[in-house]
Symmetry: C2
């Protein structure tokens, strides 16, 4: 084990109460960075929002950079888990993509700060930004490949399809989740899913 991994491990909560405090700090950090951005956001702003002492912050995080990195990983994982919970309802590989988008649109409406935080990672912590999208795309590519093996998708599914569908979802989430929530997410997901299933070329 490297020294830095060991130092990091020391910060992992050992009790349920510790885990609750760490989660309260991450939630407060999402509000603080979501509202003020990384540069204007502060550790004291985070502890004030979380209602905990500065000492508690340093029990779980080494610095502002450290909690930001943890927050990006946490939001990335939250999206993954939120979508994964709903996927067992899917009828097939195409329907899984509809449910994936629908649950992401709902998540984006509930957590409008997610774009600001993930997008700011491009500048604050580029490795975390890239890891978020590469991990998400790999997960989608694996899902598509399995559905193709089950005979539900065309055999030539490719990594390009995963990046294409992820990009669709990100921009539909921005447009119909964060910027304007007047349109029914079910309808948005159905229209995008029909594109994924059969495209938009006029059929003879």
């Amino acid at each position: 084990m490297t020294e830095s991994a060991s130092a990091r491990d020391d910060k992992t909560p050992r009790t349920a109460r510790g885990e609750r405090t760490r989660r309260a700090l991450l939630r407060a950090a999402a509000d603080e960075f979501g509202e003020k951005g990384f540069h204007e956001g502060s550790i004291s702003g985070i502890t004030r929002r979380a209602g905990c002492a500065l000492g508690s912050f340093y029990t779980y995080f080494a610095s502002k950079d450290d909690i930001f990195r943890a927050l990006v990983a946490d939001m990335s994982g939250q999206v993954r888990d939120h979508v994964a919970l709903r996927l067992p309802d899917a009828r097939d590989g195409i329907d899984a993509e509809r449910i994936g988008l629908l649950s992401f649109l709902e998540f984006a409406r509930e957590h409008k700060e997610i774009y600001r935080i993930i997008d700011e990672a491009e500048f604050v912590d580029h490795a975390a930004y890239r890891a978020h999208y590469e991990t998400t795309a790999s997960r989608m590519a694996a899902r598509l490949r399995k559905a193709a093996e089950r005979g539900e998708l065309s055999d030539d599914v490719d990594e390009v399809h995963a990046w294409a569908i992820m990009g669709m979802n990100v921009f539909l989430g921005l447009r119909y989740g964060v910027w304007d929530d007047s349109r029914d997410p079910q309808e948005v997901a159905a229209i995008a899913n029909a594109l994924v299933a059969n495209g938009i070329a006029r059929k003879a």
Copy 2:
């Protein structure tokens, strides 16, 4: 005319030489902000790169914010013009989207700084960021509607399709244009275009 519009108009170059200096400053700003980001980038860094005096800068731009805003509008327009030049080659509305993506991939490989600059606008000048994507999506939606009227696309083309295809293009440009250019852009554009045309559901 409002006072601020009149102040802005005063900065518009009146001669070809003035226009060349303004363009040299925008190109230098793309390098400066692309490399250092908005906060670390400086007006003196821009004039040094452009090889012109500080006084020339203020002949054309009021501030660092002002040239950044002009740069976002300029890059947005460059992408639009780059794609528009190639669109007359399209066989139909589907092929137009293939050519649109292909020319965008080529543009992203040549101008890798475009993502950093447009994405940083989300934090530095949110209105410019939103305008870039809303304008691009409106243009795509109009293109899709016209193709549907010509009978080339299904009748139910929707604003959702424009945002979906734009999102695809943005992420394919990031993945196969900026981060890794080992894959043939023609191939990436062909795969994504087949998805737009006919989807990926297994056909009976």
